[in-house]
């Protein structure tokens, strides 16, 4: 006899890959114009025009001494700038107000934490899950993600200035992409780092950004908006070793045994005639 479903049968939380909810001021400016080096003067101009908030001013200390002054913003300002770039001004305006809301609500714990810790340590803060989820909910409610191409995933290789990301589009299609590691300003990501990859058109070209993300345990109801953005094997195209090897063998068969036709040989002969193929002499030994 099937037993009735007990409320505790439901998972208490579900892991989601969510973008880091706070970014520094340079990232806000680069989201607005990736081709222009960020300057404090440009930031002040934007602030005078109310295009961005005053942000969170943090005086950092190290070993009890002053160690500099930093300005951080809600990541929603970055999304707002990207959306203005693709002409989605209404959604951007909604995000501006959501960004101010995030900064207002989490100002005190953020300043307290960032005064003694690096931004990259933010996922260790006790209030981080609430902050990340609140920010992600605002992002979802604004409709921003429908106007951008977003991949949520994990870095599976990071070699030779290239990173390979296994993940999923927000349309639930699996994706396996290779990107230049330099896309991230703070340095190439490491294997197993969670990331979001965002692409948008700018003047007929595609601008692709690699955003730091983090795995956050959220309640199942809230997680439903991000069911495409889940960590682990669900997003990786590897389920079992046998599946992987079957696919690997099939792919290798296509690569190693191509159907080479006359036009391919014609091209090679042209390259030979043009001197584009180097020679090597092979000495046959007994």
């Amino acid at each position: 006899m099937p037993r009735s479903r007990h409320p505790h049968d439901a998972p208490l939380s579900v892991d989601c890959v969510l973008p880091l909810p706070v970014i520094d001021w340079e990232d806000v400016l680069l989201a607005q114009d990736p081709t222009r080096p960020p300057t404090r003067a440009h930031l002040r101009t934007l602030q005078k025009r109310n295009a961005v908030s005053q942000g969170l001013q943090v005086t950092q200390r190290k070993n009890g001494r002053l160690a500099g002054r930093k300005t951080y913003f809600s990541t929603l300002w970055g999304f707002s700038a990207r959306l203005r770039g693709v002409g989605a001004n209404d959604i951007a305006a909604r995000l501006d107000s959501a960004a101010e809301d995030v900064e207002r609500r989490f100002r005190a714990p953020l300043i307290l934490f960032l005064k003694d810790n690096a931004l990259s340590d933010l996922p260790n803060a006790s209030f981080f899950p609430d902050l990340a989820l609140f920010s992600a909910q605002k992002l979802h409610q604004s409709g921003a993600l429908e106007s951008l191409s977003v991949v949520s995933g994990m870095v599976v290789t990071a070699e030779n200035s290239r990173v390979r990301v296994h993940g999923m589009w927000q349309t639930h299609e699996p994706v396996d992409i290779t990107l230049p590691g330099q896309l991230r300003r703070s340095g190439p990501p490491r294997v197993r780092d969670s990331v979001w990859v965002i692409s948008r058109p700018v003047l007929g070209a595609a601008v692709t950004e690699l955003l730091d993300a983090s795995i956050v345990a959220v309640n199942p109801q809230a997680a439903s908006a991000y069911d495409w953005s889940r960590p682990g094997p669900e997003v990786a195209p590897v389920l079992t070793e046998e599946d992987f090897d079957d696919e690997a063998a099939a792919r290798y068969q296509r690569i190693a045994h191509p159907e080479l036709n006359d036009s391919y040989f014609d091209e090679l002969l042209r390259d030979l005639a043009d001197g584009r193929i180097p020679h090597t002499t092979i000495h046959l030994t007994a």
Binding site: A236, V238, A248, Y252, D262, H279
Partner: protein, 171 residues
């Protein structure tokens, strides 16, 4: 480093099936495969373990042994002949894990074996030389360096994922 090279036989299947030229999967805490850090190496390993023996007229599957241990595998295939040239595709140049990292010595010997076999495999009519081509993954830096050491030139990039390298081998 000198390997003892010979053609693969059907009786080598068990030796090939234990050949390892890549690292293991990254796994979850419960041991479930999560992802493979170098999928292009795993593809080659799987191919070596499963490949049928090529026909002697068009292909070679060569095994290199060191101290009785399978240290390297080379596979080539004759794709065609035109205008005095033969066209050979390098399908496998693989070095067992324990023989890697010796400043590429093992890889260089395997590549030399591949080029020698490519030249030998060309029919008598291919008097101009043998065009040898290889496809590698774009992130496969060790293979790129090996091909460069043997004078291969990058000819094409396919779908942003694979690179085609070519060289004309002459006797």
């Amino acid at each position: 480093m000198v390997f003892d090279w010979r053609d693969a036989h059907t009786s080598d299947r068990s030796v090939r099936q234990s050949f390892e030229c890549t690292v293991d999967f990254e796994r979850t805490a419960l041991g479930r495969p999560l992802f493979h850090p170098r999928p292009y190496e795993r593809e080659v390993q799987t191919h070596i373990r499963r490949a049928a023996l090529p026909s002697s007229a068009n292909g070679r599957l060569r095994l290199g042994f060191a101290g009785g241990e399978l240290a390297a595998v080379v596979q080539i295939n004759l794709e065609g002949t035109r205008d005095g040239y033969s066209f050979v595709r390098l399908q496998v140049v693989a070095i067992a894990r324990q023989f890697r990292g010796l400043r590429g010595e093992a890889a260089d010997e395997a590549m030399h074996e591949a080029l020698v076999q490519s030249v030998v495999l060309g029919p008598a009519g291919a008097s101009e030389g043998t065009v040898v081509s290889a496809l590698i993954d774009v992130v496969n830096e060790p293979s790129r360096r090996m091909l460069q050491r043997h004078k291969f030139a990058l000819r094409d990039t396919i779908d942003g994922q694979l690179e085609e390298w070519v060289v004309l081998a002459v006797r």
